[in-house]
Structure formats: C-alpha cells, structure tokens
Subunit: 500 residues, 2 copies
C-alpha cells in the first residue's frame, strides 16, 4: 500500500495529549508506531487516547478502516527512530529540552527520515541549531484532539529544504490532515497568535465580571464558532459585506480600530484571584461531567460536524469535511485492494463482509435502533459485497454501478445501543444485469437474527440498465455458483403482510 | 398558539442584512411583521434574505413549519409599530440616529411593547436617554445570518426593568434562539470584544505577510473553528488540561502572557495598502464565487452542523443543536395541535403529512439519494401518521407505541440533491394491533412517484403486542374507514423479484 500511505513505520517522541493524538492518528491509518516517553504513565495516557480515537473513528468513516498499525513502547529515542521514515517530536515546550531531544533524534534516525516538531510557539530555525541534518526538520503544529482536527501548520526554518516541505505535505495529507504552509516563521505561528489574542480579551472579560466562563463559551459556540467551523474570518466578513464588496466592508472597519472595543493594550495579571475565579466557574460549567465524558461528547460532536461538512457541495465536501472525504477515498482504495485478494474458497457459505456497532445517533425515541438504520447496515453490506466483485466509487465514476430496485425487510428483534452486529450475505441469484441478495443481521453476542433484508440490484452502465463488464460478471458468477446449493433462507420471497 | 409563540405581530425598524435576518426568523416562525426602512432597496434586500432563509429552513427542521407570517412594508415608524407586541431596531450604528429612531418608536408604540436594539457596540444606557418608557428597551445583539445563528446577547441598561429581561428571554427563545444575558454593559459586549481582539491580530498577520487571508481562514476552520462550533474557549481548555484540572492548566498559561505571542499592544493602521492587499487576497480566495453562492454554501454548512449537533447526546442535542431541538419540539406541538383539529373529510384521500428536501448528507457516491434515506423519509411519514392518531414520543414513554415489523420498498426513479419530496400515505388496513400502511414518495416539482414503501406496524403496550388504547383505535378506525374505497396502490403486495 506504499502508493496510498507513503510511510509504514513512524516514531513518536513524547506521549502526552498531543503525542498520544499523533500515535492514534498513525495507528488507525495502519502505520506501525514506536513511542518513547520516559514518563511512568505515558503508556496509560497513550492507551486512553487511542481508545478514544478508536471509538471516534468507528463512527467517523463510512469506510472499513485498515488493519491498525502495531504500537510499541521502547526505552530510548534511538530504539524508537530505528527504521522509522517519519518522526514526530511532541515533548514539553522548552527550547533546551527540545534541542536536546532533536539532537538525539538527528544523530540516531535514518538520514532521510522526516522530522516534524509539534511545538506550538518556538521558531523552527531555533530548533535547527546544532543539527547535522537540519534540512529535514519542519515545524508541524497540530490541534487537540490531533486524531480528529485536520489542521497541521507547517513552518520551515532557515535550514528546512523545499523537499522536506513537499514530503511533509504528502505524509500529513495521507493521514487525513490539512497541511497549511505558513509563509514566514514567527513565534506561535498563526493559529496560536489568533487564540492568544482572543484568550487575553477573554481573561479581561472574566476578571472584570462582564460575564462568567459559561456565558463566554455560550457566546462563542452559539454564534461565530458555528461560522468558523466552515468558513474563516475573512470569508465570513466578505459575505457580511454583501454586494458592496470587501473593500467597502474594510473601509467601515477603519474607524472601529480606534474605538475602545478591546483592552488589549493592557495585559491582564493572571494572579491567584483570577485563577480561582476561572477554575470555580469552569467547575460549575462542567456540571459534574468528568474529563473523559467531556472528551467523548466533544469527539461525538466533532464527528457529527465533520459528517455534516463531508456531505456539503454535492458530497464533494467543504473545508474539514473535504479532508475527511479525501481520507475516505484513500481508505476505499485500500479496502478494495484487500477485497480483491480474498481467496475464492470462502464463497461456499454466506459471506461475512460487514460488521458495525449500534451508536447513539441510531436510536429512536423508544431507545431502539430506528428502522432506517437497518437499511443503512444492509446497504453497507451490499456495498461491501459490490467491492468484493470489483464495483466501487471508482467504477461508478467511470459509469458502471449497481442500484437497488427493490427491498424487503423483516424486523425480528429490537436492537439496543452498543450492540455489535454482523451481516451474513447470500447471493440468491445473479444473471445478466440482475443481482438478488439476501442479508441476515446477526447479534454478534447472542447469534440471534435481528432482521433480514432481501434486495434486487440492477447493474447500470452510463445511466442505463446493462450487463456488468466481463471481469465483474465473472467474479459475481464465481460467487453465485459457489452458493447455488445453500438453502433458501427463511423469509425470502415474502410479501408484506403475508401470513407466516 | 399564544402559549407556544408569545407574540403574533412584530415590527422591524431597519431592513438591511441584520434587520432582514430578523424579519426572516419572525416570518418563518409564523409571526406577522411590519417593516420600516427608508432605503429604496430595502424591500429587495429583505426579500432576498427571506428567500435564503426559506430555502435554509426547508432543510433545517424535521418538522412541518407553521404557516409563515405576513410581511408588510410601511411608510413610517408609527405605522410599523402600531399593534406590535415586539419591536426590533436594526438601523446603522450611529448613536444620534439610533436615539432619534428609538424616541419615535417609544412615542408611537404600545406602552408595553418590548423594544430590542440590534446594536453591536453602543451602551443600552446611552440608548435609553430621553425615552418615556426606557424600562422596556434592551440590547438584543444577534449574529449574521440572524435566521440560522441562535445567539442573541441581551444587555440591560440602567433603566431596563427585570421584567423586560425575562420577557426578552421568552420571546427570543420562542424564535429558536439562545438568549444569553451579559452581566454588565460595556462597549461591544462580549462576542464583538472577542472578535475585535482576534481581528486586530489577524490584520497584523496579513500586513506582515506571515500568511494570506485564505491561509488564515484555513487555520481557523480546520482547527479551533471546529471546536468552537460545539464547546467554547474555557470548556475546550478544561479538556486540554486533562486530569490535572483547570487550575493546573491556567498556571501553565501565566508565563505565556509575557511572551511575544501577539502584537496587540499596537493597533495596525488599516491604510490603503493593507485594504488593497486584503481585498485582492479575498477575491482570490472566493475563486469566482459570488456573494449569493457563498451565502448558500454557508447556510448549507450551518444547517449540516446544526443537524449534527441536534443528534448529539442521544438526540437531546448539544449547544446550538439543542436550540434547534427545542425549536423543533415547539413546532411539533404546533403541528400536532393543527393535526388534531383537521376535519375528518380530509381522510377520504391519501394523506400528505410529511415533506422534506434531499440534502447533501443524503447522497451516495453516485450523487443520488442513498437507499436508506428513502426508508428514513418513509419512517418520518409513518411517524407523522402516528402523531395524527395520537401516538408520539409522549405516549411511547407511557408504554404505548407502534413498531415496524415488515417493509417493502420499490425504487422507481433516482433522486437528486435539493429535490423537494412529498409523501402520500394510504391506510391499506387497520384492525387490532396491526396497521398496514402504504407510502408514495412524490417529487413535488414533477409529481412523479420516485419510490413506494409498504409497511406492517404492530402496536406494542409495555413491551408486548397488544391492541391500541380505545381513543387511538377510534381515530385510526375513522381514517381507515374513510379510505376503504381507495384503489389498492400499484406495487402493494409484491414480493422481491416478482415479475411486473
């Protein structure tokens, strides 16, 4: 899969919240990761972040994830970087410490391994001082949670080579991220500069009792936070300016800059009194929710937002949703490659091609999996079957696809949140443009059949019903033939309301 | 509907982007609005905003919207406010102008009408100077687009009465908004203070060529913009701080405030050179897209994000998604009240109980509505039918509900994004615990039938199949009886694969 994912082994130096987030993103994209962190609880922290990320990715992609990479914890930097094509440094934000760690990475890593630093404020040129191969170091600053937020700010130092920047774009892009190159290095780059400005103003508002932290958070998340999840500051203002244009809009702003609308010419003193006030208000806002629960809620929300943005612009995706779309396309290609290499001997029994878990968003007001989600699971199983015979988004784009013409569903048991489900798929018949599939939805724990789905699919080429291309017809025929002697499953051929 | 929507007539003074947004929100909630704006193009601008908002609301709510309110343009403030229980002032941001307009509103409006000012920066106490009834004036500062973003900052002046603040919370809440009370009045309140701080920092970054406007926007929308659509600054930092807690996290921040991470001790000069630079970069970023197109994309994205957040927390909603949930619940109550008062004569033909529009998130990789969304629409239509006979989330909680046992779907035409769909529902039979429904999915434009759904539903009481309660059985029997003579629809009783 080297053309799909440009690396197969990575090293993460530092396993805190940020380092752990990098580990999770790499592992879930199928890359082996060696971690070095001398902290005694690093393995636990990384494990918890990986668990969070695995849970989130189970909902994030509409695509089967690749086999996860192997995670190992090692006792030294040298062990971690041995054989790694990509190294991410995420140690605490102290120049002396970072320089020491980077020097050790530089001395022991493969000469052409790419090194990214997660620093949120230090200058890359300062980090490059004293390195033997400084040209392969670039600042690659992510945002928490690293496994869900796509942004990585790439900042070159004086010694960073153009090739390093290009390779970094390729690698981080393959991880589903949005690499953004910052033109000049300054302390804190772009994102943290913006955050720092807003943060200082926020501290004044709390200190002066204009509002409490919950109100301030609500002001953000019910207004411009929603705007900024999909368009930034300037595009938003361009729209607000309307037909008169950006130039006219800016002209109106000139005078405002002289108004007393910010206290930013002063720096607030973050003394004990202010820290106490914020900590107490923050406890009240959390309303008894622990960090793990808040993380779960945040991740679910981010997944939902990313899903929403993925569907934008006729399914091409917008902003962070486009990053997800590109990532999924890559995963589809990997899944297809894996399907095509499956051995033929498996075909003589019903096929297990799709598994899923009932998540919270699938429940109706009775607390059970809602009816259309059954068809979603059956549809996903049909898609998995189509991939098996060589049909996917790519062949669809070139004009060859299957469409469902008819469906019959029987609901046999209620299905609760968290249930692991497995679909067994049987080909009832296949010939010409017609494909007759039968799915059984099995509770993976009890083995009970919770629902059945019977479907007629029609092959369509360039908008018209037509026989599938020979290679696909052959693959389909092979499976149908192998399943000829399977018994007709219970419930097949029923009409709605037919007595049992 | 006075207990659901506390006002029936409103006045909007000022019909620009903000005033027009208020008009749209009010009209679409079923409230009559009179508008006064002396600008010659006010009627056109308000009309365009209302068209945008109508389009967005068609996708926003899963609930039938009420009959829209009546919109009238009038020639004076006195005419606009006559009989209005609620008046929103949205004239340009000049103290002298706002005072003159508010004085005229104050002199001509009903004595107890509530007056909200959309000012984004002026102090309410300054606006109250010279009014006869200053106690009913409150700053109610919204965010663009007003019809989609829930936030309204409520700021009381010295003379504002506590009753006014309570009434304002009630009225703005009924419009689907999130009213947030700011504790003390200061210029620009809370949201615009935060925006102004970030804006000044952004201007420096562009002026100093650290990045261009597109890069800056990408930095926002691929990282903290996603976070802030669902949790604000402090809750996010609480999570980032992890197990060590907010106090520990803040302690780390203290030293940073002394770091050179912002240029905010200076104010940038927004001179011609900087205006030119930003305007040119913004043109490039827009990539040929006009304002109307950007608005449409923005609105679709906001709708998708709000949908995502509405599904959070087991469907209870989170943040702005919770506002949408509360708004929908109110609309459901209105729809149910309307259903229950529908005359029996309507039942003698297939029922039109559910309409929807195909949104981007419903498309498959072929660009058509994906198969399980058909069942979602049929399920929503079944739910609408069940509400009609008195079954809803409330009766389900008390142990009486219908569950789908069996479904048959025929796909007759592909369905594209943006298609307005209407479901026609026919009762094939109803008796005892069994209900046999048939839905036809109609393209509202062409009248073509795109799919049919045939369903057996079983009434369940306290977990067991059982006859429905007498009142529900009676209502159901009345409809079934009225439909006895309707012809059996094409496709009913088919099994999968049956020759036509």
């Amino acid at each position: 899969m080297s053309d799909l994912i440009p690396i197969s082994k990575a090293a993460c130096i530092g396993g805190g919240v940020i380092g752990g987030g990098w580990v999770a993103r790499l592992i879930l994209t199928g890359i082996d990761v060696a971690v070095y962190d001398p902290a005694p609880d690093a393995e636990r922290i990384v494990g918890e972040i990986l668990a969070n990320a695995t849970r989130a990715y189970g909902k994030l992609t509409a695509v089967p994830l690749p086999q996860p990479g192997t995670l190992t914890f090692v006792g030294s930097i040298a062990e971690a970087v041995a054989g790694a094509e990509f190294i991410q440094e995420s140690v605490p934000e102290r120049l002396d410490l970072k320089r020491r760690v980077l020097a050790e990475i530089d001395a022991t890593a493969e000469e052409d391994a790419l090194i990214g630093s997660s620093t949120s404020g230090l200058l890359p040129s300062d980090l490059q001082v004293g390195l033997t191969y400084p040209e392969r170091l670039v600042v690659a600053h992510p945002y928490n949670p690293v496994y869900l937020l796509p942004l990585v700010e790439l900042v070159a130092g004086n010694a960073t080579s153009p090739q390093t920047l290009e390779r970094a774009k390729l690698i981080y892009g393959a991880l589903g991220m949005k690499p953004v190159v910052i033109a000049k290095e300054i302390e804190a780059f772009v994102g943290d500069r913006l955050l720092e400005a807003l943060w200082r103003e926020a501290l004044w508002l709390i200190k002066d009792d204009i509002c409490d932290v919950e109100t301030l958070d609500d002001v953000i998340r019910y207004s411009f936070g929603l705007r900024w999840a999909q368009m930034g500051l300037f595009q938003t203002y361009r729209i607000a300016g309307g037909e008169a244009g950006m130039r006219h809009f800016l002209a109106q702003f000139g005078p405002c800059l002289a108004w007393p609308w910010t206290k930013l010419t002063d720096v607030p003193d973050l003394d004990d009194a202010l820290v106490d006030k914020i900590a107490m208000q923050s406890d009240r806002q959390a309303n008894g929710r622990g960090i793990r629960e808040l993380e779960r809620i945040r991740d679910d929300n981010l997944v939902a937002i990313l899903h929403g943005l993925k569907g934008a612009e006729n399914g091409a995706g917008w902003g962070a949703g486009q990053s997800l779309k590109v990532f999924e396309d890559r995963l589809w290609s990997m899944a297809k490659a894996a399907s095509l290499s499956a051995p033929a001997a498996d075909f003589a029994r019903p096929l297990s091609l799709h598994e899923t878990t009932v998540n919270a968003a699938w429940l109706d007001y009775n607390g059970h999996m809602t009816e259309f989600r059954y068809l979603q699971v059956f549809g996903d199983a049909s898609d998995a079957f189509l991939r098996l015979i060589g049909i996917d988004a790519e062949t669809a784009a070139s004009g060859s696809s299957f469409f469902t013409a008819e469906t019959h569903i029987r609901h046999l048991h209620e299905t609760k949140r968290g249930t692991r489900l497995r679909v067994e798929t049987q080909v009832l018949s296949a010939g010409g443009k017609k494909l007759h599939l039968f799915h059984r939805l099995i509770h993976a724990g009890t083995g009970a059949c919770h629902a059945t789905g019977e479907h007629i699919l029609i092959h369509v080429a360039n908008g018209k019903p037509a026989d599938p291309p020979p290679a696909i017809a052959a693959r389909l025929g092979e499976i149908a033939m192998a399943q000829t002697d399977l018994p007709v499953p219970d419930g097949a051929g029923r009409f709605v309301g037919q007595p049992r």
